[in-house]
Amino acid sequence: MFNFYLLSSVLLISLIFFFLGNNRAKNLVKLNQKNLHSLTHYYGVYSLLASLLPALGIFFIFTICDDLIFAELIKKHIPKEVVASKDYNFTIVLAQINNSVEGLIFGTPPQWVTNAAEIWISWIHKSQIITVIICISTALISGFLGYKKISGNFRSRNAVEKIVMSILAVSSVIAILTTIAIIFSVVFESIRFFALIPYDEFLFGTVWNPQFEGAERAGSGQEGLSQYGAIPLFAGTFLISIIALCVSVPVGLFSAIYLSEYATSKERAFFKPLLEILAGIPTVVYGFFAALTVAPFLRSSGSIFGLDVASESALAAGLVMGIMIIPFISSLSDDVINAVPQSLRDAGYGLGSTKNETVIKIVLPAALPGVVASIILAVSRAVGETMIVVMAAGLAANLTANPLDAVTTVTSQIVTILVGDQEFESAKTLSAFALALTLIIITLGMNFYALHVVKKYREQYE
């Protein structure tokens, strides 16, 4: 609430500066009877930004930094005997103090924790006062400086242009930095995992059997030993992806050809949105469709032919995942097929080819790189898909090529490893990050390759 009031008053001050700047510019026009460089509202916007941006910047720096500074300072207020004790952990102590500050008190905390929390609260009050003073005064001073700058020669239009550009640039940098931060967090946790388990065992091992250390001690699992061979997971992932592609590539591609070449504009306007609805269905819905409808159906129809189909089979998950990625392939392929110049089709028709001949011999070869790119993007989507496989593919890490068996995938293992309470130091938990890293590398590589193919294709007609 405090932050809300502070930000509102900063905003109010900058708005006042907008009107001040605008008026000053108008007065300049009236007094001097000469033209300013820019329209008057640019001077207003300039004063507004001049007052708002520095104040906001300082506000965010203060809010981010004060917790870090307090955490450093509070160390002095923890009794020496606590620090000296054997199972002292600063993170836990800090959490205790923070809970006290927030009023979450479990049982009776030691006296020193309550004291530290009181000190912490007093710091918060002090820091709030300091933040208010500094933010408001920054807004006033920098706004005033911006206001003073206004004169006939000042090019506020260009200045506003530059400020707007930097705001946009900062936004895109934030997006990029977030991606990098995510990748790095995964990389660092993976490094911790590979310190426990050698990477060749992870990459080339054929048995996936993660256990908690407690379970190992109890002698359960395979001789009480965890095994982190990721091959069954990747094999399962690719088995399911291949089944999915067998469904989605023909259906998606053919429907794209129908929509772009054969359908009249009315049919197209009707069918294309319908197909895109498929893309809007949440994957969890596909998941229970797979688990509750497709899998039992496969099991019962398999038994008619005397086949033993697992109740959670790769086939069920793959089929449903294939349906899920149909709209990706059809929509992307439709775009690339439409991008083939009409003049090529005209040439084909002019030579007396039928529609079918034109599509197969002229349009598809010309669109092929784009179609391939759409398929690669669909594969990377299939590889990263989680919900359907968690619900329908099972968790048994079988190394098999039989689509009727239960398999597991990288993503569903990550989910099962990280769901629930975990010890963060164990190899089992950390293995999720190693899996995630491998998955990121694979899908990034695929996306990169697909974009490369598309780029090459674009140059062909220019």
Partner: protein, 271 residues
Amino acid sequence: MSNINDFKSLELTVGDVFSKNARIKARNVNVFYGNNKAIDNVTIDIGSKEVISFIGPSGCGKSTFLRCFNRMNDTIDSCVVQGEISIDDENIYDKKIDVVPLRARIGMVFQKPNPFPKSIYDNVAYGPRIHGLSENKEHLDVIVEESLKRAGLWQEVSDRLQSPGTGLSGGQQQRLCIARAIAVSPEVILMDEPCSALDPIATARIEDLIHELGNDYSIVIVTHSMQQAARVSKRTAYFHLGKLIEVGKTKEIFTRPQHHQTEAYISGKIG
């Protein structure tokens, strides 16, 4: 009813629309795009081994009319063609007509060179392959070579038949498209502003080519350039706002136009 139409059409069009040895006969042709009338009651004959050019200001319907001859307008959803067009006394808008072999009989060259993104050889061999015109590989080679020679491109590409057709220069690409069209041995060649995307030297080569091909084929050429019409064609038809205004010997159209609109266009008053 049709007699009245005939009469109106004759009244409208100045000059002799009929031809003694007519190969294509168009009678009272109307073309609509939705509710828009693009061609209004046009009657004209196109003679055997005759080069005729269609001229007129932009949007006058000359390209639309050209595309009626091989029914390319069928590919446009909203386009409706009324009237009768016959080739060798066979009505091509008859329901029984199969449009695919019809288009094989009538070659078309487009405004922008549009070679397929395939090799030069495959570009020319495309038509013969889909129509099964060659008995074997050697025969196909002969057809390709013949067509390229007739299009005046053989000398330039004989050593690189397998390189992509899109890698040629604009003028070469257009001659490749002509070679592709004549590879299926059509009877009529339609050319829709074939030189508008080319430089003057490439244009001159194409015009020479049209001269030569005129000895064997009926050629209909749509052009924006009156000089080009004067250079390549024996007969000229002037279109204005979907109507065929005047038809006549090229020389006479350009020196003594009968209709005031033709005269205005020739002298540059309508453009």
